[in-house]
């Protein structure tokens, strides 16, 4: 269908955007890449009174990679983040997960920060934000504040943000030393919503033994979940750690739902399989980054 009628503004600064959002009230919605919001309008699942398009706001299209992490501006497209080699070096999960976001034509338009603000539990970068312990910067009329991922995601397509607010960037902390990451998802068609997905990080100690294992999952709960799987493999040499045991532990920690695409049992099975598979990959990378 066609989008329902709405009013449209394309302010030239974050402050102007906040003014319009404040004046228009609860019926106003921020529009960035539009690759989730416009389908919602077309399917008449959302009918905002006013769209506040931030695409004209200068300065929001930057990726800043530093030793501490990667800050992604609100207008950085998935395709732009995917191409950013400096960002991939600081936090390799960004490119790995972004490669699984939809199709190139969607990635050319959709934004990383928009998909986080959309808070879809099947979102790749929501899981990465959670796993890396990231945060977003929220601009409000009263000023800017950092909001950690745990305080941001409330439920499916629901964040804790209310009133006039614009998410201006997202910050993903850098990959720690002696660590490796991996990302994998299962979708019915490549580029479609994941039935289940996993983002993992493995950290070794100086003797190449497993020190920490954490995993975040897509499409298994109402919000992104991070689980600590260290106890299944703690202290084991990286080459002989039993990643299947970590996968088995993960299966006991998740509580997925059944929907049209997969039963809860099948999702739990996928959690085990993807956990084992990604941990082996992440461990190999961690080993490569740890002097023998």
């Amino acid at each position: 269908m066609k989008p329902p009628p709405f009013r449209y503004a394309d302010p030239g600064s974050v402050d102007e955007a906040l003014d319009v959002l404040a004046a228009e009230g609860d019926g106003a919605k921020v529009l960035a890449g539009g690759q989730s919001l416009l389908p919602l309008l077309a399917m008449r699942l959302a009918a905002p009174a006013t769209l506040v398009d931030v695409n004209r706001v200068p300065g929001l299209d930057r990726v800043e990679a530093s030793a501490g992490g990667v800050r992604v501006g609100a207008l950085v497209r998935h395709a732009g983040l995917l191409r950013d080699t400096a960002a991939a070096e600081v936090q390799p999960l960004l490119a790995r997960a972004t490669a699984d976001v939809a199709h190139p034509a969607i990635r050319n338009r959709g934004t990383t920060v928009g998909s986080i603000a959309h808070a879809d539990p099947s979102g790749e970068l929501t899981a990465v934000l959670a796993l890396t312990g990231g945060s977003v910067t929220v601009a409000r009329p009263s000023g800017r504040a950092e909001v950690g991922w745990r305080d941001l995601f409330v439920g499916p397509l629901e964040t804790s943000l209310s009133g006039p607010a614009v998410v201006v960037d997202a910050f993903f902390p850098a990959l720690a030393e002696r660590s490796g990451t991996a990302f994998a998802e299962i979708a019915r068609r490549k580029g479609d919503y994941a039935v289940c997905g996993a983002a993992v990080v493995v950290t070794l100690d100086e003797d190449r033994r497993v020190a920490a294992v954490r995993a975040a999952y897509l499409s298994v709960g109402p919000v992104p979940e991070v689980h600590d799987l260290t106890e299944a493999v703690a202290g084991k040499p990286v080459d002989s750690a039993d990643w299947a045991a970590a996968g088995a532990l993960a299966r006991t920690l998740v509580d997925p739902d059944t929907d049209l695409h997969a039963t809860a049992d099948y999702r739990r099975l996928l959690v085990g399989v993807l956990t084992e598979r990604t941990l082996a990959e992440a461990a190999a990378e961690a080993a490569g980054r740890t002097a023998a």
Partner: protein, 172 residues
């Protein structure tokens, strides 16, 4: 003060020609191209970003024209399937290598999805190094975001390889 509108005049370049249209702000680019500018080569299938039929180039990059508002392309350069053919410098036009390959390989049946495929593949092939032989992964990635319910993709993928080979020859 930021203006808040229900209707706007949009100026853009379509296939190299400056165009202007007065549109309701809720009108998506696909509908503006078809209904306001008379360019019906762009097809609207699902109207919510899944099928890829409506794919056009905005400033050179493939995007779903059903997921972009017409007011958002103010000042942009849009290329539709009508803009793929090239001037032959003899008063006529020659098909783009991808269009030629689709004909050669019988890569369409009903043709509804074809404009989206053509635009997506043409942009994808032009963005890569033509001298390199195309891989199966690249072919899959190029066609994976567009739905075709007739062909089963075999001939479409054949056409991608054919067009890549033509463009490789041309690059020499």
């Amino acid at each position: 003060m930021t203006s808040i509108d229900t209707e706007r005049t949009v100026s853009l370049t379509v296939n190299g020609v400056p165009r202007e249209a007065r549109v309701p702000v809720r009108r998506v680019l696909a509908d503006a191209l078809r209904d306001d500018l008379g360019l019906t080569g762009t097809h609207v299938g699902c109207a919510h970003g899944v099928c890829g039929s409506c794919t056009v180039l905005v400033d050179g990059e493939p995007v779903r024209s059903c997921l972009v508002l017409a007011v958002q392309v103010q000042g942009a350069a849009v290329t539709t399937v009508e803009g793929l053919a090239r001037d032959d410098h003899r008063g006529g036009q020659v098909l783009h290598p991808v269009q030629e390959a689709f004909r050669e390989c019988h890569a369409l049946q009903c043709g509804f999805c074809t404009p989206g495929f053509l635009v997506t593949i043409a942009a994808g092939l032009e963005a890569r190094d033509a001298a390199e032989e195309i891989t199966e992964e690249e072919v899959d990635e190029l066609v994976g975001g567009n739905l075709c319910r007739c062909t089963g993709y075999t001939n479409i993928k054949k056409a991608v390889r054919h067009a890549a080979a033509t463009m490789r020859e041309d690059a020499r």
